[in-house]
Symmetry: C2
Subunit: 145 residues, 2 copies
């Protein structure tokens, strides 16, 4: 099988991966990969990422059971980012129990949750007080996330 080669060099060996549910199109998470983890994913069909915090190979769901079966990949125009289309197994992609890691709008409202969510103190984010803005926030239709 021939596949296109991502340009890992452009980003010092580690490029971002947008992880999208193959059926719903919901974006589940943003992860990173290097060449070895990318090739392992292509070969096995299980999503294997590179953890930038631990600086090591990270097979998604290896401990939690929430593995991701990769059903397709897209690559962007300049080859330095990927989309994995996955079947998410288990309770979801997020460590909080949410189906998607993007479960909050920037205003702090609940977005796409799906699943029993458990947000601890370390999952809270600081707040910025913005001046009056020109756009009509909030806008997002949660059903379309």
């Amino acid at each position: 099988m021939k596949i296109l080669r991502p340009n890992f060099e452009k980003r010092d060996g580690v490029i971002p991966v947008i992880v999208q549910d193959v059926n719903s199109g919901v974006v589940l998470m943003l992860a990173y990969t290097n060449e070895a983890c990318f090739l392992e994913t292509v070969e096995t069909g299980d999503a294997v990422y590179f953890s930038t915090s631990r600086n090591e190979r990270w097979k998604k769901g290896e401990t939690s059971g929430n593995i991701q079966k990769v059903r397709g990949m897209l690559i962007d125009c300049d080859g330095d980012s990927l989309i994995y289309k996955v079947e998410q197994k288990g309770s979801g992609a997020c460590h909080t129990g949410a189906m998607s890691c993007f479960f909050r709008t920037i205003e702090g409202n609940a977005g796409y949750v799906g699943g029993k969510i458990n947000i601890t103190e370390k999952d809270k984010l600081p707040v910025i007080n913005m001046p009056v803005v020109k756009v009509g926030w909030p806008y997002v239709d949660q059903s379309s996330i």
Copy 2:
């Protein structure tokens, strides 16, 4: 207006932004932002990114006219990546003319194109010859991208 503050520090001041069509859910591109460009985007409603290649502020569509009106933002569990839900103006998000920068599957087949596409020599990517793999490629249903 109060908004959650992304953790720019975790990624040396520059974090990835997944840009998604607010209506279709199609992922249009992967961009980056820093704090100043993020705040400008919130204040004006027009997508302003940080170009990691030119190392400077980049207002999307400033020269091409293909601006993006941001209609909502999501932030991930640990605050170091964002989704912008946008209305894409003009011909599309990609410099090739495609609606989405992710117009190719990893096998090199056409994915979601939408628009008159013009791929030049510099848009071509190198190829890897893979051994036989365990998964059933290609899989992606192009209609669901």
